[in-house]
């Protein structure tokens, strides 16, 4: 049985204490929590951990339980503390026997259609300028990426890098909008 399974379920009061430790303002604390969780997953995935999300939650659980002890004396960037706990959890993970990764492949036609519907809805919410940029940015085949993007950048009067950043930021907005639409 892995050490993670021996841990008790994180209590609500511990979680609330963690958020309060991250930031007195609950809104900012929630944003900080999400950003820390995202970083942990990105790093653990980059290190090759197949269960990156599960490990990230375990790390957060451990920090939440230790807040009672460290809160009075801890000084410095609180995010760095998570790094230390992450390294420990990662070392423990590497000592575990390698389990086969179960990948469930589900071809959900309904979900795909819903995603397309939400995409249409979210595209409508874009400004005409942003909409045009996205349409041109994604209207390309595999071989023409650089040439087409150069042409698009020239049309908009911006550099290639600026085009990429703007398009990806629009892409990020679409992602958020679609996920909210799917949850609705």
């Amino acid at each position: 049985m892995s050490p993670a399974k021996k841990l008790q379920t994180l209590k609500q009061e511990d979680f609330d204490r963690l958020l309060a430790w991250l930031d007195p303002d609950p809104g900012r604390a929630g944003i900080l929590y999400e950003r820390i969780r995202w970083r942990l997953i990105a790093i653990l995935a980059s290190r090759g951990c197949a269960i990156a999300e599960e490990l990230a939650d375990e790390i957060i659980d451990r920090v939440a339980r230790r807040v009672v002890d460290i809160q009075p004396t801890y000084v410095g960037d609180k995010a760095i503390y998570f790094l230390g706990v992450m390294n420990n959890v990662h070392h423990e993970y590497l000592k575990r026997p390698i389990m086969p990764r179960l990948v469930e492949i589900v071809d959900d036609g309904n979900e795909k259609e819903t995603t397309h519907l939400c995409l249409d809805k979210c595209l409508d919410q874009l400004s005409p300028h942003a909409r045009q940029m996205i349409e041109q940015y994604y209207a390309e085949n595999k071989r023409a990426k650089i040439d087409l993007r150069k042409r698009i950048a020239a049309e908009f009067g911006i550099s290639l890098n600026t085009l990429r950043l703007r398009a990806l930021r629009i892409r990020e907005k679409l992602q958020t909008c679609i996920e909210q639409c799917l949850e609705a």
Binding site: G48, L83, R164
Partner: protein
């Protein structure tokens, strides 16, 4: 700091290259690079924002099949390890399905513009979304049903439409009113005009002709004061039936001639038979329209012995 580290960091501001970010996402950084990258990722907001955008870029490249075989493997093994990244890939796939084409690089810009114009038209009416397509179809159906219902339930509408159609096709009516006045006294004139086929002119109802029966005797006084007086009926088809009493109940076939006081023949009735052996009368009908105001004589003669012998005369006055 070795050359690798210098290349790893683009400048003294310790920015990382896009290539380094992508190698981080594939898990291909060296141990030293990995430690430095992780530290800056946890402490620097700018690197975090760039890595987030790079995740979308990588998901797009995978969905659009821009990755090499090795990179596709690394993507599935090292990148697609969280629910959030799986959702990113689904959106990238949806964008690919929506916009990606198989056009070549040489495709001219107007082709893209043409597609966007048609897309704009679709978006103008919201027909890109199924829900709006359904709503649009239902709206058209409701309008059609409403029109049919009005057509069936409101005969005035139907009649109005028909009147509009017929009015365009009706012949021009002929003029009529002045001739009728001129011939008002002519009993045989027929109205010649019709206003329209739909607006039928009013006409007098067809009634049975009035028959005025008058019994005349041969011994009736002829003087002006006691001659029988007849008030003619006014209808142009009315009848005056003259019943002539016979002397001594004569029988046979008779001929009657109606004459004015000036012996002008007005009407002749032939082959008159007495009504019966016991009735002692012969009768014949005269159109009332032939009679004018004045005195008249009926000359009765026999018609069965070839003699044309005068049997009797009968007198009356029309007033």
């Amino acid at each position: 700091m070795d050359d690798d580290t210098r290349q790893f960091k683009e400048s003294n501001s310790q920015e990382f290259s896009d290539d380094a970010i992508r190698r981080f996402l594939f898990g291909r950084l060296s141990a030293a690079e990995q430690a430095t990258f992780e530290e800056y990722l946890f402490t620097g907001e700018s690197l975090e924002a760039r890595v987030r955008l790079a995740e979308f870029d990588l998901a797009d490249d995978y969905a659009l099949e821009r990755l090499s075989a090795a990179d596709r493997k690394a993507f599935e093994k090292k990148f697609l390890l969280s629910a959030e990244r799986t959702r990113q890939l689904k959106v990238s796939t949806a964008l690919r399905d929506r916009f990606a084409s198989t056009a070549t690089v040489a495709a001219p810009a107007p082709k893209v513009a043409t597609a966007s114009i048609s897309e704009r038209l679709r978006f103008l009416f919201g027909l890109n979304q199924r829900a709006w397509r359904l709503a649009f179809g239902v709206a058209i159906l409701v309008v059609l049903v409403g029109m049919v219902w009005l057509w069936v339930k409101e005969p005035r509408i139907k009649g109005g439409i028909k009147a509009g159609i017929f009015n365009r096709r009706a012949p021009v009516p002929a003029p009529s009113a002045p001739r009728m006045a001129e011939h008002s006294n002519n009993a045989s004139s027929i109205p010649e005009h019709r206003i329209t086929p739909l607006a039928m002119p009013p006409h007098e109802p067809t009634a049975s002709p009035v028959i005025l029966s008058v019994e005349l005797f041969t011994d009736a006084p002829r003087d002006h004061a006691q001659i029988p007086l007849i008030d003619l009926p006014k209808g142009e088809h009315d009848i005056v039936r003259l019943q002539l009493a016979l002397k001594s109940n004569e029988t046979g076939t008779f001929r009657a001639e109606l004459l004015t006081i000036n012996d002008q023949s007005v009407f002749i009735a032939q082959s008159l038979l007495s009504a019966g052996r016991d009735s002692g009368k012969v009768a014949f009908n005269v159109p009332a329209a032939l009679l004018k105001t004045g005195d008249y004589r009926v000359s009765l003669s026999r018609a069965d012995d070839g003699s044309k012998r005068s049997v009797a005369s009968y007198y009356f006055r029309v007033r």
